[in-house]
């Protein structure tokens, strides 16, 4: 994609929309978001989504998903708590070249954000934003069978079980989100 914005060194930033909800701001990744990401991937909470990772491997994952904005034109937004300004997770579209179709994904980094509906708010905003801005209207979500919290959220969002598939990272359940109007 052609980038419209540039950082201080003249390298392009993705031409990515910023999304707002009642409590959250969703914006494209920047370097200052990496510590929150690496902290999550150093913790046992990351075990069901590819972790734990050391800082170097976390940087590879973070920079790779940032680069997807340029390769595909869409990607993960960083989820910022509007009141505190703290990065509390990420939500958006994961679609590397080897993935069969766009996937809606979300991560909430800390326990302290559980039980407040934050993950639902972030994932729904990302799903709506992907439909409106990128025409991705019925994404899948691939979830490990043991990740009961994410399965419950996918179901609350109206996603339906749509079989299983063998990803490069191992077997996953596939959920299909309902058609969202663009």
């Amino acid at each position: 994609m052609i980038a419209a914005q540039h950082n201080m060194r003249g390298t392009p930033l993705p031409d990515a929309p910023v999304l707002k909800t009642a409590r959250l701001l969703l914006r494209p990744p920047q370097l200052s978001d990496f510590d929150a990401f690496a902290g999550f991937y150093a913790s046992p909470r990351s075990a069901m989504i590819g972790g734990p990772l050391d800082r170097k491997d976390a940087y590879s994952g973070f920079s790779s998903t940032a680069g997807q904005w340029f390769l595909k034109g869409y990607g993960f937004w960083e989820v910022i708590d509007r009141e505190s300004g703290v990065n509390i997770g990420r939500a958006g579209i994961y679609h590397p070249d080897f993935w069969p179709e766009p996937e809606l994904g979300w991560i909430i980094y800390g326990d302290s954000h559980e039980g407040r509906g934050i993950a639902m708010e972030a994932a729904t905003a990302a799903r709506d934003g992907a439909a409106r801005h990128f025409g991705i209207t019925a994404p899948i979500s691939s979830i490990e069978a043991t990740n009961s919290r994410s399965i419950a959220l996918a179901e609350r969002m109206g996603a339906r079980r749509d079989g299983e598939w063998e990803t490069p990272y191992g077997p996953m359940l596939r959920f299909r989100h309902p058609q969202v109007s663009a």
């Binding site: 060194r9 390298t11 370097l31 491997d57 976390a58 940087y59 920079s63 390769l71 070249d97």
Partner: protein, 170 residues
């Protein structure tokens, strides 16, 4: 955006979606990619390409691809991977492009760019002891050994620094 760098024979530009085949070919070659974490499957090569693009986006510098006669033959640039000790001048070349002084020519362009565009007086690099090609190239670029460190993977590596502003004779 980051401007292309040009030399007598080469153009260095930011990697993009066109470069998946070149990355896959290089990283599928176990011998050629042995100092670069290879061999990699095509999906892992795509992740590497995406990470190289993301590095430019996050840090304002990164690893360019090298074009010669309109074909991508390798890459050269500066990576600064968090969790790894310091930044490094790095290069990779498809086997057919080796032995022609291309890594040196590309490295000189990157060093000059680091001096003028990034304002860095010197650029560091590091390599395994058995990577004699990297050591020779680094020394040909005016590099001198600064220190030796044990890296997070448990391997000891020499760390060299190269000047960006001085003219270095081959």
């Amino acid at each position: 955006m980051t401007a292309d760098l040009t030399t007598a024979r080469l153009t260095l530009r930011m990697p993009d979606a066109r470069d998946h085949a070149s990355y896959s070919a290089f990283f599928a070659d176990a011998e050629a990619s042995r100092f670069y974490g290879g061999p990699l499957l095509p999906y892992q090569a795509w992740e590497r390409l995406a990470a190289d693009i993301g590095h430019f986006m996050l840090k304002g510098f990164g690893r360019f691809v090298i074009e010669k006669d309109g074909q991508v033959i390798g890459g050269c640039g500066i990576l600064d991977v968090d969790g790894w000790p310091g930044h490094e001048l790095t290069w990779w070349l498809l086997p057919a492009a080796r032995g022609q002084g291309i890594a040196q020519e590309a490295s000189r362009a990157v060093l000059a760019w680091a001096g003028t565009e990034l304002g860095w007086p010197r650029v560091e690099t590091h390599f395994r002891d058995e990577n004699t090609a990297a050591r020779r190239l680094t020394e040909s670029l005016g590099g001198t050994k600064q220190r030796r460190e044990t890296f997070p993977d448990g391997i000891d590596r020499d760390i060299y620094a190269m000047p960006t502003t001085e003219k270095v004779s081959a």
